[in-house]
């Protein structure tokens, strides 16, 4: 309300606009902060990746002798397909466990700072509420999945190396190996694409967890899980319909139909042929996912949730 005159401007330190941390740098610091506080964000994925890799030492594959039907089944084509499926299967448990870690993290992220009464310390520093809330959402929704993607990729290669050594040493049948760089790249590409679509698709779910976390006074878990259950039951009892259940199911698992992956290879597929993920990659209709209106509607809802969470953190006054 005061316009500083010349004398005060000279006496006062330079206006704060002149010194500003770049938002990108601040965001990196905020990500680090989350990893310091929520150590499960990196300990659990690393542990799971290591455990998955160790399975390469113990997996036993039946010995396909010359008299078995293995040679017919393990055509070069099918072996390539199995290689891509192995690459995929190696990462699936990691993503499943990650989604649990992410869910619990997002429920907790804005709740713990109020529970341990550190929120005013964080708010005493020049980090906006929007930056804080967005950093937490991005951590659970984007940084963590991308981190797991990289972990799965690196440890997946390690897994293949161990596997190849065992085949070389004769402890696994030759049919069990088949590194193919192009197929590997395509499989990684397909998984990356699926990951991006999942992130976009699940954004409103993740943002809703952040909102609940910003809002509840206690029992985050109950406040996250009970309302949908109660809403589903009430709808069922009152109207005999299941719209909410279907909506939630669609929002949680619907991305598989939105992916635009055609599971049938172009040649229609033949008996005894295993579908290679590398072929699927060639058939992805990316437009189908990115032009899907539900993806963008979900994102709009996510933005609204984030906005609400920011407002709550900014104006809440009960500390």
């Amino acid at each position: 309300m005061n316009t500083p005159d010349v004398t005060t401007a000279a006496a006062a330190p330079p206006a704060s606009m002149t010194v500003q941390q770049s938002p990108q740098k601040v965001m990196i610091v905020l990500f680090k902060r989350e990893l310091w506080e929520h150590r499960n964000l990196w300990i659990v994925p690393v542990l799971v990746a290591v455990l998955m890799t160790l399975t390469a030492f113990v997996i036993h594959v039946g010995n396909f002798g010359p008299n078995s039907h293995a040679p017919r089944f393990f055509t070069p084509e099918n072996r390539l397909a199995w290689f891509t499926i192995m690459t995929w299967a190696f990462s699936v448990p990691q993503y499943l466990i990650m989604s649990l870690v992410a869910t619990f993290y997002l429920m907790d992220c804005l709740y713990t700072e109020r529970k341990d009464r550190s929120i005013l310390f964080w708010k005493s520093l020049p980090v906006s509420d929007a930056m804080t809330v967005i950093s937490k959402l991005l951590m659970g929704l984007v940084v963590l999945p991308l981190g797991v993607y990289l972990l799965a990729m690196v440890f997946g290669v390690l897994f293949q190396v161990i596997w190849a050594v065992r085949v070389g040493a004769g402890s696994l049948p030759y049919v069990a190996v088949g590194w193919n760089t192009l197929a590997w790249l395509k499989t990684q590409g397909l998984m990356f694409y699926a990951l991006i679509v999942c992130i976009l698709w699940l954004a409103p779910i993740a943002a809703s967890l952040v909102l609940v976390s910003a809002w509840v006074r206690k029992n985050v878990f109950l406040w996250t899980s009970l309302p949908p259950v109660i809403a589903i039951i009430l709808e069922r009892v009152a109207f005999g319909t299941t719209y909410i259940a279907h909506l939630l199911e669609y929002r949680t698992w619907g991305m598989w139909s939105a992916l635009g992956v055609n599971p049938t290879p172009p040649d229609g597929g033949s008996q005894g042929r295993v579908v290679s993920l590398a072929d699927l990659f060639d058939n992805v209709e990316m437009g189908k996912a990115f032009l899907n209106i539900d993806v963008w509607l979900g994102l709009a809802v996510a933005i609204a949730f984030v906005f609400a969470a920011v407002r709550i953190r900014r104006y809440r006054d009960d500390t």
Partner: protein, 284 residues
């Protein structure tokens, strides 16, 4: 000089209670202001308003900004320690420094580490491993390393022993305060800080009951100690508060001259603590 904090008709209600009711004051740069009041007087509400942590009615300007709409910019120039703003227990000392250095453009890392070197605090310790006094030292180290223009302290020494409290204020005064900075603080241990204050603002039930510089307090307030026989005569001059001490009566006058009072007994300038009690129980 433009005031660092200027409040006009500041109001904040929680339901039917007026935590702060039509409060106006101005705090000039280079001052150390004690905001003093009993529990529930509205101090914390006032602080929250200044720091943009709560909504309110009326006008409030902090460093020329409105804390309601310009909080993010304001926090570059304002620091605060509140007894409710605790450092998270999982945080390591080194992480605390890394974090503040990463987000605060005016943070001087070497200042913080120099300060911590003089303490028993280890860089690798977590906050949960530190004693309460050490946590406050850490917090102070972080805050003092920020080149801020306004420092707000809400009961910063709550729960600390006397040695830590003394050290806290010594550090504040010697290592931090200069004529371009302003400190506003509350504490219940008024006696301990009264030598350090340049100004006091007394607040009670949401109202400012006294707003004065400490060095002009002597011109306005006189404490007179009279014997019982002179008490009646002194009372005619209208003390706003009196209390009996060892058979003699201590009376507090506002706006009386020393010449009027000298014949009646001993005169002195009341201490901030005594004046506070007098104002709260008498004149408010």
């Amino acid at each position: 000089m433009t005031a660092v904090i200027e409040a006009r008709g500041l109001k904040k209600s929680y339901g039917a209670t007026h935590a702060v009711d039509s409060v106006s004051f101005a705090i000039q740069p280079g001052r150390i202001v004690g905001l003093i009041g009993p529990n529930g007087a509205g101090k914390t509400t006032l602080f929250k308003a200044i720091l943009g942590l709560t909504q309110f009615e009326g006008e409030l300007s902090v460093l020329g900004r409105d804390p309601r709409s310009e909080r993010n910019e304001l926090m570059q120039d304002v620091c605060f320690i509140a007894d409710v703003a605790v450092l998270p227990r999982w945080l390591r000392v080194s992480q605390a420094i890394d974090f503040v250095a990463g987000v605060h453009p005016r943070f001087d890392r070497s200042r913080a580490t120099d300060f911590l070197r003089k303490t028993d605090i280890k860089m690798s310790s977590r906050v949960r491993e530190l004693s309460k006094g050490m946590v406050t030292q850490l917090h102070l180290a972080l805050i003092l390393a920020i080149d801020a223009r306004l420092l707000v302290l809400d009961e910063p020494t709550l729960g600390l022993d006397l040695l830590f409290r003394r050290q806290f204020y010594d550090t504040l005064l010697n290592d931090y305060f200069d004529k371009e900075r302003t400190i506003v603080l509350t504490t219940h241990q008024v006696e301990e800080i009264e030598n350090l204050l340049t100004d006091v603002i007394f607040i009670n039930r949401g109202h400012v009951v006294l707003d004065t510089a400490v060095d002009t307090m002597a011109e306005r307030y006189i404490q007179l100690t009279v014997s019982a026989e002179n008490a009646a005569r002194a009372r005619q001059l209208g003390p706003f508060y009196e209390r009996e001490v060892f058979g003699r009566v201590a009376m507090f006058f506002e706006g009386r001259t020393a010449a009027e009072l000298t014949p009646l007994g001993e005169l002195r300038t009341p201490s901030v603590a005594d004046l506070f009690v007098a104002k709260m129980q008498g004149g408010a």
